[in-house]
Symmetry: C2
Subunit: 330 residues, 2 copies
């Protein structure tokens, strides 16, 4: 078995974000569900883009953001995801590598473009995502590098990958490899609508394969179709070693067996853009976990990273998280 050289290897969609501001009316006009992610076709992307205000392009993708966060803490991260051989593909590959993340998945040569997400930020800082997956789901099973997966303590899987059968197969294969190599499997549910689309498969996967589950309030209640967070949390804690449940400004609760640890959210004076808050919480948590820190420290690292990301536009850190952690003595 290969030795451990990475803290975490992530598998997810390789996306460039196009972030712009809009008023609530704009979301209503375009039927975009506020605060959520919806999958759209190329045509809808064009229409929305033509109508939206000026944008800023920043590399994104949920698990990709998490891997960049881990690298920003000083951790060793790798990413597997599919881009096309086009301008956005070059931007994605450059940015993730320049952030210190190992990224070797080959760019596809066909005409399908690199994935993009039009992210609309309302005046309250909430983000609404309209994602065109493009070439991203064409990640083949053969591209899930067994050696790379086994080289990391934890493999971290993006729920969004379930939205396309091709990517789902790659996803399952990664979980298989990790399990066989005795590595830990972490999963983020990604989005309540995504959970809704694949509930039974997620439930089965969590029960049988997942060691560490990341979900926010909307996702976990969607998964278990419960009214209350508490009830959903109770169900989650029974089936995973670690359930990391985030609740935005209310902080997070982490269940480890029957022990519950509550972590307060870090205060942010001016919430600019909530894109990536969950991704970066996961970065801090997984980084702490890979170092063997206490659950409480892991949670505090998560809160710190989430607070950094929502204080500016985009889901990639602007300040080295290692520096922020050191300043807090974490």
């Amino acid at each position: 078995m290969p030795e451990i050289i990475h803290d975490v290897v992530g598998i997810g969609n390789a996306i460039v974000d196009i972030i712009g501001r809009c008023k609530e009316e704009f979301l209503v006009k375009h039927g975009a569900p506020k605060g959520r992610m919806r999958l759209v076709e190329a045509e809808t992307v064009s229409k929305l883009y033509d109508d939206m205000g000026p944008g800023i392009e920043i590399s994104g993708g949920s698990v990709a953001n998490t891997m960049v966060g881990i690298a920003s803490f000083g951790g060793k991260a790798a990413f597997i995801g599919k881009v096309a051989d086009d301008e956005f593909g070059r931007i994605f590959a450059h940015d993730i590598r320049a952030a210190g993340v190992v990224f070797n998945t080959k760019a596809a040569q066909g005409k399908t473009p690199t994935a993009r997400s039009l992210i609309l930020v309302t005046p309250d800082g909430e983000r609404t995502m309209n994602t065109f997956l493009g070439v991203s789901p064409e990640l083949a099973r053969s591209e899930v590098d067994a050696d790379l997966i086994s080289s990391a303590r934890i493999v971290y899987l993006e729920g969004y990958l379930f939205d396309r059968p091709e990517a789902k197969a790659a996803f399952r294969q990664a979980a298989d490899i990790a399990e066989k190599s005795g590595r830990q499997v972490a999963l983020t549910l990604s989005d309540p609508f995504c959970v809704d689309r694949h509930r039974s498969e997620f439930l089965e996967l969590i029960r049988s394969r997942v060691d560490i589950l990341f979900a926010n309030e909307a996702e976990i209640t969607s998964l278990y179709q419960t009214e209350s967070f508490e009830e959903a949390a109770r169900l989650a804690r029974n089936v995973t070693k670690l359930a990391v449940l985030t609740r935005s400004a209310k902080g997070s609760v982490i269940f480890s067996g029957h022990k519950a640890t509550t972590i307060a959210a870090d205060r942010v004076k001016n919430v600019v853009d909530t894109t990536g808050a969950g991704d970066l919480f996961a970065a801090g948590f997984l980084y702490g976990l890979s170092l063997g820190k206490s659950i409480e420290t892991c949670g505090r690292l998560g809160s710190l990273a989430a607070a950094e990301i929502i204080s500016h536009i985009g889901a990639r850190p602007e300040t080295a998280l290692a520096k922020l952690a050191a300043a807090r003595g974490l």
Copy 2:
């Protein structure tokens, strides 16, 4: 003669900025002169990009930024500039139109890509630009729309256009049309190195055609090859109706005939990225001028816009300048 329907029409390079952070050593290693703009070839762009940190893509271009600033104040602006039919070209066109600027120059269909500028921001907030002009200088004389030029009170020309003979011809033609239509001609010197490359032509142009000259301290002393700012300023005031000279944190001095008006720079708590400071000063000033405001008010509008732009990444306003101006009673 067409009636006036625009406040300002600008002609300049159509560029997408790729902005990243770096330490001073990085500039030294790559021979990039700090605080300046240098023209580079495609190969150098690739090399620099491979070596630099993660970037953010934001539409830019000096005069294009100014036109967006004018629109953000509520003014009517149009832009003439050349992009290619590629991803960056689409981004540029979308962003400038979405900002409310009229932009109808056709995208080139060849293989030469849209211009890009790798902008490296050092910890002091100073920006160093490495620009690959790509298709931008292919703006043809036939594309300088006489009706559009005559439809604006002021035509604003980018000094950087002098760097390629094709664009220079378009530039001269625009000045001709404006002069014949009795419109005002404004020019920005763009950069001290650019001035150095084309000194005699700039001197001739300013003497014969330019009504309003924009320059910073380095540019105006480069133009007149003087040691002191005061001496250069004295020479400038003798040849233009209006000389608008900016001095970074020291504010600006505007010479109108023999009257000098001094404007203080607006205080900025945290200078994040100085990209676009001069462009946005020009936006406020030209907007005020087109409304017939006093020189002092024009200068204060310029300072306000410059302060907004240096408080965040990128050279396009994040807050509506009309709102900021109203809050100040301007």
